[in-house]
Symmetry: C2
Subunit: 760 residues, 2 copies
Amino acid sequence: MTVGTSPIRKDAVAKVTGKARYTDDFTMPGMLHAAYVRSTIAHGTVSRIDTSAARSMDGVEAVFTFEDVPDTLFATAGHPHSLDPDHVDVADRLLLTKHVRYHGDEVAIVVASSKLAAKEAARAVVVEYDELPVCVDAASALADEAPSIHADGNVIKSHEFIAGGDLNTAVDGADAVISGQYHTPVVQHCHMENHIAYAYMDDFEHIVVVTSTQIPHICRRVVGQALDMPWGNVRVIKPYIGGGFGNKQDVVLEPMVAFLTTRLDGRPIKLELDREECMTSTRTRHSAILDCRAAADEDGTLKAVDVAMTSNTGAYASHGHSIPSAGGAKSCNLYPRSVIRFSALTHYSNIPAAGAMRAYGSPQVIFGLECALEDIARKIGMDSVDFRIKNVARKMDINPLSNKPIRSAGIVECLEKGRELIQWDEKKRRFANQEGPVRRGLGVACFSYGSGTYPVCVEIAGCRLILNQDGSVHMQVGATEIGQGSDTAFAQMAADTLGISYDKVHVVTTQDTDVSPFDTGAYASRQTYVVAPAVKKAALELKTSVLEYVREMTGKETASLDIVDNNVVAANQPDCVIASLADVAIDAYYHKQRGGQLTADVSHKTRTNAPSFGCTFVDLEVDVPMCKIHIHQIFNVHDAGQIIHPLLAEGQVHGGMGMAVGMALFEELLVNPDNGRVLNNNLLDYKIPTFVDIPDLGCSFVETMEPTAAYGNKSLGEPPIISPGPAIRNAILDATGVAVNRMPMSPKVLFTHFHDAGLL
Amino acid sequence: MTVGTSPIRKDAVAKVTGKARYTDDFTMPGMLHAAYVRSTIAHGTVSRIDTSAARSMDGVEAVFTFEDVPDTLFATAGHPHSLDPDHVDVADRLLLTKHVRYHGDEVAIVVASSKLAAKEAARAVVVEYDELPVCVDAASALADEAPSIHADGNVIKSHEFIAGGDLNTAVDGADAVISGQYHTPVVQHCHMENHIAYAYMDDFEHIVVVTSTQIPHICRRVVGQALDMPWGNVRVIKPYIGGGFGNKQDVVLEPMVAFLTTRLDGRPIKLELDREECMTSTRTRHSAILDCRAAADEDGTLKAVDVAMTSNTGAYASHGHSIPSAGGAKSCNLYPRSVIRFSALTHYSNIPAAGAMRAYGSPQVIFGLECALEDIARKIGMDSVDFRIKNVARKMDINPLSNKPIRSAGIVECLEKGRELIQWDEKKRRFANQEGPVRRGLGVACFSYGSGTYPVCVEIAGCRLILNQDGSVHMQVGATEIGQGSDTAFAQMAADTLGISYDKVHVVTTQDTDVSPFDTGAYASRQTYVVAPAVKKAALELKTSVLEYVREMTGKETASLDIVDNNVVAANQPDCVIASLADVAIDAYYHKQRGGQLTADVSHKTRTNAPSFGCTFVDLEVDVPMCKIHIHQIFNVHDAGQIIHPLLAEGQVHGGMGMAVGMALFEELLVNPDNGRVLNNNLLDYKIPTFVDIPDLGCSFVETMEPTAAYGNKSLGEPPIISPGPAIRNAILDATGVAVNRMPMSPKVLFTHFHDAGLL
């Protein structure tokens, strides 16, 4: 069995040798290059645009402005199409716009023979504006006098739910109540490969888009919608991709390149954003304000949590209100025996548009929740770990929002394991009553998350298997390898279920919507959970076909046969080889009277969801005068069900923790509130952690068995990013007594807080 | 219904606008170019090879000689792999050879940064030879003192069959017997796109070959065999192809580019032959000598035909003895009530290797047969058409070789129709007793052919259908569009069976062996016959899935539903629309509880074969002193069963007739018998007919209904080339009384014959 072991990942050699081909590695004869003309103000309307100088420049093939594009509003969020009108994404975007809504908005585009020529000509387009007031945050965007950023005003949506009982009764009856306001910043994904796409047409009906996307099938649909053409006439191809983290779960460039090729006789047109554009003109993480309350009894029983979230989506809705909605719902598994109130409002503003980013609202919600939990634990004088252990989910607890049972829950064990790993009790004693400028502290925070989007969205996945003549198998999935290792995990699953070795499974890693099984793509940490049943079903179907064919060849009953180690064997005597899978395949392909190519083609809908859990433990040192944090130890302990590939799982956890440390301590996309201009739209000024900034990252697993999962597995891709932030905040509080209720906890923020607290 | 109508072909717009992408239209960064070092003698062994000068030239990356290639003999013929040892192709070839067997044989190859650099360096490789005697024809190759061209001698194989009774009894009992020797030339396919392929590796295990081939799946297998690697590690992609005519039913360049990329770190390597190389170093049509006898009674009953064929395969076996074997077998349906003897021998020689070419041996066999038939008809004094009508196959005649009934036969009707079209009887009277230098004559010849290769080879085809959200369907087939219009025909079939319109069927025209359904490719005029059942089965399966899903949606019984004009309707009331196919698809994709992507994935083996028939009528004028032929009228009349697309069918017939006129009157690859050098390896010296050389081509069909075919259809791709040659020869005989028993009937040949006959 390879599930549970760590075979070399399928794309390892291609990637480390530089042979893996990304979108920019493809060239086509006569390829043209496009560059946007971006607004130089954050809010206003174009009063005059003059493209004549640009049009006359060398190499320029065409210039299109907002006057040239279809008058069709479309949505870019990478969600599955929904039959439910309440879940249809907000269509608030045109390909190019006269009403510019953030600094960098797209008013025109130039196509030229080279990228340089396109960029130079874009600069030569003269644009004049009638300016409007700029709103960068909730206070200004929701003010009575705020200008309307979109036709229907600045509030996209708000909602509220109360689950598990009556909130007021629970709060009023509790021994202690705390409240606080917590802030999370705008951060950027900073994936290595910038956004890039190109498109061409083989004839006048079909557009081919090659793009660095997490969601090729959704991309196909959105291109069809944006250009008002049948979806079947759009083909999207996804080569290797250099990271996405949710930013490529949005359809950013594809409708534009598709439009351009239709207007330029089907010629191939490439559009590649530079890093500066990528920082501001793709998507970001929504900043949030979380007004929280928590109520508990003296015995440590959590009675109620109340989170009110205000989410700033920036200039366009993109994933919009889905972010707080998902973040709120997915947190309901964590403390399911308390009353939970969650309310949220999402508003526009004149800053870069926010979209999906790793963990999709949960880092924001959980930052508020786990800070508030810490505060209430401290208020009742209970140990932070004990308090959580008392209140977190146990197996067969009922999720108060969905009323569904939680079928696997290892969070108690995670907390116990983390406590031991970090030597919580011993250090607690050691760090008590510190004095002086440098102090140590311990922090903990928990999270829960979902495995996919059901029941909010449809969960559909597909897998096709082809038995080759050499006994190997080609596997097509619609789910996308975006660096997380999904191809490898699916190959392990297929190998085990088929009874063949891992190296005999060839994964078709490039999705091509013309032929790849339908799947909505890589997001919501859905893939191992919702694709696994499709893989398993396809593998079982293929296995059955093989055994039925062997019956036809040999007369032996199917039930008496099995496949073990690439051989068809007697089920009751696995060392009795009847035929190698290669021999069976050769016969099936080439026997003149019987057989055929043996394949399995499965489309599967998942109608369950499984919560994953985990927690972060931090041991850090605060240099109060220097306003500096040094993390001595940090552990993430995860319940992701059965671990398919321990080494890849550990890699996921390390990656998420690294991003979390960045968001907690350094990262923030800074906007000038007066003019909406981003101050740090590059990797020099926008501080992401490098090797020297990241502590040793500890990772451990508590392997539960999730019964609704094909291989006992639950989500792991996004979760590692959720809990480090509040754990760090709680450790700083532990060390200094100062509650820093705002990420990033940068030296500047710490200085303010320490100064206000009288430490400086 | 679109079957039987002529909708615009699927690739029409792409091809006429130049948007269709052929192998040479793909570029890759860092692509290298290869060029062969070819032998300058026709037979011998390399005594010394010096690559040092070439290696030191600018841009040269590598030079490989016969010393560097695997010591694995492989076969290149594009046949399906066979489980029958008697049908395994002759493995007589290495990637590069020390023993050169024809002028142009491959002793080394250069890889450089440009094609020019590679070509120049190839010229700088110094090669010295020990020469061996050269054999160019049967007489020299089969002589006792002939040198061995391959290890097992110069005879590849010989065989004989007698069917329908005892030959001697039939001949001895007949009223008249004739015998004659007939010759057919070496001709070249002259497809517009020369042979071209490139290969690269994404990692160290998988080779990707992009190539202009008729047989991507066979190509994959042969590359695996030649390089001794698992077939599953080879991926072959076939873009649009600019003609093949059988020359790309051979694996000519692919093993070499695959080898080169494995030796050059997976870098992309392109190998493109120029026209001169393509003329001599790909494949040609086998020249043949046909020693024939025919015996008949005075009443016109054909008693026996006896054909002994000697086939010259040149330097390598390639399709070798399959050519006469197929040509002999496929002719047995034509005069099934006579005794038939067929014997054949295939031998090597030191001329370019022959392989598959349109109609695969039948033009040779039928030239002998239909000349002999003409001669015996004349001997007994019977009209040529009447004689044939009396003897050709009728429905439910038994094929004397296979003992299977002929289930559809329209050849009598074809002959009657052709006789009318050309006004045979009236002209016969008019042309009788001509004198003078310019004389008119009428000729007729018949053929039969097969629809595929069963039962000699496995006949397997695959089709996968995907229902798109817009109600359109994507269709993947493993069968290859090579210009003949197969994509269009399959789309018509799928549309009719599914109940949707033709424009809703999107054909995935590029085969990719990683994902395309398995099919052995375009050859043997097999595709409409053997792919149609796979298409029909897949369409019926998809239709059933749709109707079952509608039952799930609506509760209506599946049997009460049908699909008409892209809508699901009540079966008994087709104008009562229940849901559009698009609405059904959207529900199936996106409903959260039910459904899934609706697909059908079918692999089908065909275990029947159906003979197609036809005939050519010619009215021509012979200018005896000028040795010139002017064709006034020429008609091909075909029984190809039901015609799927009349316009494409007519195009196929015109194309085949044009090639046939070339072979009959002009074309011959000339070899110097002393040194084996080809004298006309270019399109200036090798004469193919142009518009001015081709008469108006008349085409007509007799539509029978073939019961074993999915849509009543039989083969049509190759057959049009078969009978024009003998019909022209018979018309010249009719005009002049001179039997020109040799193609091409060029002015030079005519001069000799007319001179010998005393006309000049």
